[in-house]
């Protein structure tokens, strides 16, 4: 079955992103497809490549990246809402350049896109599951 997941909370703040990750992992292990994970609101913080938890703690960002969720062309399907990301200082290279800001922090396993991607995921998947506070 084709699943889409929406994550509304950041890592290390609320359990939602951990639950969402464990759910996604279990779905994949049981033969299902995760067609997209959409990170909205504070959920965009799950995509920060600057995340450095202590070595004995789980690495939520790398956990998401390890799921290797991509489309048929190899583009990441870990999708970060652009408006939510920019207002929280989450930038990829192109957004940083466009806004004349030095440095960028979007992990390469993720991509920035718009809210339409959430609607599309709701239409194209068999199930959309939302995790939040």
């Amino acid at each position: 079955m084709k699943f889409a997941i929406q994550v509304n909370e950041g890592p290390y703040q609320h359990q939602a992103s951990d639950t969402a990750f464990q759910f996604a992992k279990a779905a994949i292990e049981n033969g299902h497809e995760i067609m997209r994970v959409f990170f909205y609101h504070d959920g965009v913080n799950n995509a920060s490549s600057f995340t450095l938890p202590p070595q004995d703690d789980r690495h939520v960002v790398n956990n998401w990246a390890s799921l290797d969720i991509k489309d048929a062309d190899g583009n990441p399907e870990l999708v970060v809402c652009v408006a939510a990301a920019l207002r929280r200082g989450m930038l990829d290279e192109s957004e940083a350049t466009k806004n004349s800001i030095e440095g960028n922090n979007l992990h390469p396993a993720f991509r920035i896109s718009g809210l339409g991607q959430l609607i599309e995921a709701g239409i194209q998947s068999d199930r959309l599951v939302v995790f939040g506070d």
Binding site: T19, E29, V129
Partner: protein, 98 residues
């Protein structure tokens, strides 16, 4: 439908809101702090009837993390994450009460 509840009813009214609108074929899954609702406590009567019908589930890892494995209310079914996935597959639309 599958209704997930992630808050204790000592904290929010989401479980009551869910019970108010739930239909005869839907099930409830408690996750995160929602598993407090699966413990035998002063609010257990809220879910007693649904649980007796086998329609109340709780995520095992979250139950264990909160130390309530030995204090569960009657007829609560425990599931792991794979069981959570199966519930979503089986019951169609998943509604997240947050």
């Amino acid at each position: 439908m599958l209704h997930t509840v992630n808050k204790s009813s000592f904290e929010r009214n989401s479980l009551q809101s869910c019970i108010n609108i739930i239909d005869d074929t839907s099930v409830i899954l408690f996750i995160e702090d929602g598993v407090i609702n699966a413990a035998n406590n002063s609010k257990s009567s809220m879910i007693a009837d649904l649980a007796a019908q086998g329609r109340v589930f709780a995520l095992q890892g979250d139950v264990e993390a909160r130390g309530i494995s030995s204090k569960l209310a009657d007829n609560i079914k425990l599931v792991d994450y794979a069981g959570f996935v199966d519930l979503v597959v089986e019951h169609g639309t998943a509604v997240s009460w947050v």
